[in-house]
Point group: C2
Chain length 414, copies 2
């Protein structure tokens, strides 16, 4: 069965707001074995909404509308779907009563416009909204001689998601032939997209019953695998087989097999080895520390470090000799190495990690162009330095540099 | 005239990819005085695409299709639009020749499938694509007795944007009645959305000829104002009048009048006063430094600082007495103040800024719950400390904390 998603709201037709709910819903529907065949974005117009609903009902077995269920005059999804289905709206007094209670319990005044949230399309099942005032609605019935299901969901994601999970998933599963779908995500660090695809395309093309999607970001590639079969076991086997062959091909470039982030993986390895990390950041200005500490519990392996933006602080916080900076420049292999070892010693960490480079857009020279970054990792016995020239603007260069630095730790500890 | 946007590509119907081009196009169309009335997302199906194009042509004066112009079998936008218009496709041999030259110049082999990019809908104007192989197309003609314009654009943003700006904007302007539109963006820091709206709604509601859009993020609100008039001068006056009244009402909460970010504004003020800044970050782990150094040229006023994630480093890098931490705990007013003054002195900066808190999800206690953060700013003579309890998850708490910290610097220097 195919599904169609309609996002409702004039704000979604401005340059400022984007529908993101549909990505979540698509994932859930895919897991049930359904594909999304169309998405539409419609403003708060009863006529437009009814028309789009009619078009969708003619094309898809399941139509989901999101938004436009609130109490204001602009909220017209109920009315429009009733128009499209040629069914009356019936006010449910029990819902009005529950709304009144909800308002008085919170000390708010109940205004009459709120009652319209209790208008139910004749024959619909009410989907209670734990996190908001507007309930959802579920209608299954015949349209033009075919059985169709329409679901009305509230727009705010924190209302939509629990409502869909608690009250729609099971109901949908009952309506559908059993589907067994397995999926896997592999993540790859510091490999170019076309290079990666050149290596893996000959493999995944041999398995057309596994759907492969490749998403490329700066310094990171995600490979999504999905397979459908008559049993979960077979679906899982199909996905695992392709995953295994891709892992063999990409070898140590693959850093994550279950969707973990690079900063999580670095944390796992550090904990596993009872090691601690300190960082000294010049051009990244705190980005590496920010990424590492975005993981809850990172205090178990991350001590901290310094943002050594000025040369003075490279000396003060990481004991880089001033003469070294004078001789080679702040952006150099030598200073990167001294920063890594200096911050390690200062912080008493097992590993010291450092970055110094030219993030741009200004500050580049012929010898040291924008995008040139030195990364260093030291454990007191030896220091590894990696020199890279990254493409893109300031934001991208800094991101690449943080990615390269974290990947050095991963490779050293894996 | 109303416009309708159709984004083409099966990848846009997966959970992984989202159309973002339409936000850009909507902004450009709004600036010409056009509103977008529908958006549709359609997969790589010739039949689906032709159907959606027909529906769009019946509703809108301008229909823009993005994507599906490449050389592969999945690229079917040309064929589908020709179907919808009942017009033939004509291969333009001059374009084929140009493609051949482009390929050989770059040392690539020209494969025959590339020729389909030269298939032009009969009567269409070719829109040359500087940044890719597939040209765009522009068709103006009668459909069901009404004049309609259809534009076919390539999907990749770095191809679509210059092509649209260089070859579509002027052509569209010629087709439209002259429209004069002025806009302004005000940004507001650390004010709740509903509180902000309570204060400004009575003002902007009095000016229905200025369109007001309020966008709320964690610790930041954007107020977008837009007006249309018979001359640019009048449109600008309308927008400026409302902007002025909103600024009066919100007073020092408004930090940006021309779209600048908070970190840019903090940088302006520091430079203006010939002052320098150093930071000591505990729970934010580098986020404040990262935000400040995201601005090019920040080395003129930002010296650096320390990520004092462990208590040991609070002492080592910012000279916080160990006894102070033992007496009050690392998350305390006293330690925040000591961090700010300690890092200021260590770095030799005019201002020292520090943050310490419980980012969560673990580590909270009854006395010091998740979300509790102390922020401190010192200039050596006096130290200001702000205690806040932020809502949300780890990421949001850390963002709020960085926002509050930067806003303290702004308020002190403005």
């Amino acid at each position: 069965m195919n599904a169609e998603i309609i996002a409702v709201g004039s704000e979604l037709l401005t340059p400022f707001r984007q529908d993101t709910n549909s990505l979540y819903l698509t994932e859930k529907l895919n897991q049930l074995g359904m594909e999304v065949s169309f998405k539409s974005i419609v403003g708060d117009s009863r006529e437009h909404l009814a028309e789009v609903t009619r078009i969708a009902l003619a094309r898809a077995g399941l139509v989901i509308l999101m938004g436009g269920l609130g109490p204001t005059e602009d909220d017209l999804t109920r009315e429009a779907v009733a128009d499209a289905l040629e069914l009356p709206l019936v006010r449910d007094e029990a819902i009005v009563e529950a709304l009144r209670k909800r308002f008085s319990k919170r000390g708010f005044k109940f205004t009459e416009n709120n009652s319209k949230q209790a208008d139910i399309i004749s024959g619909a099942t009410v989907l209670t909204n734990r996190n908001g005032t507007a309930p959802g609605q579920w209608i299954t019935g015949s349209y033009d001689g075919n059985e169709k299901t329409i679901i009305l969901l509230p727009g705010p994601p924190h209302e939509l998601k629990p409502l869909f999970e608690e009250q729609c998933l099971e109901r949908l599963r009952e309506h559908l032939p059993p589907a067994f779908i397995a999926s896997r995500v592999l993540k790859v660090a510091m490999l170019g997209e076309s290079h990666c695809d050149d290596r893996i395309a000959p493999i995944y093309r041999r398995y057309p019953n596994v759907q492969t999607t490749i998403l490329a970001y700066a310094g990171e590639i995600e490979i999504h695998l999905r397979a459908r079969a008559d049993s979960l076991e077979v679906a899982q086997q199909r996905v695992d087989k392709v995953a295994e062959k891709l892992e063999d091909e990409l070898d140590e470039y693959v850093f994550s097999r279950q969707g973990e982030s690079l900063e999580q993986i670095v944390g796992y390895y550090l904990q596993m080895r009872n090691a601690t990390l300190a960082v000294a950041e010049s051009c990244t200005g705190g980005l590496i520390g920010e990424r590492i500490t975005s993981v809850s519990g990172s205090s178990r392996y991350f001590l901290g470090g310094a943002m050594v933006y000025s040369n003075e602080l490279k000396h003060k916080f990481a004991d880089v000799p001033k003469a070294l900076i004078a001789a080679h420049g702040a952006v150099s292999r030598q200073v990167a190495a001294a920063l890594a070892e200096g911050i390690r010693k200062r912080c008493g960490a097992t590993w010291g990690l450092a970055v110094t480079g030219v993030a741009g857009p200004s500050g580049g020279t012929e010898e040291k162009p924008v995008g040139l970054v030195f990364h260093a990792l030291s454990n007191g016995e030896s220091t590894e330095v990696v020199e890279r020239k990254f493409p893109g603007d300031r934001e991208r260069v800094r991101w690449w540099a943080s990615q390269q630095a974290l990947d050095m730790v991963r490779r050293k500890l894996m």
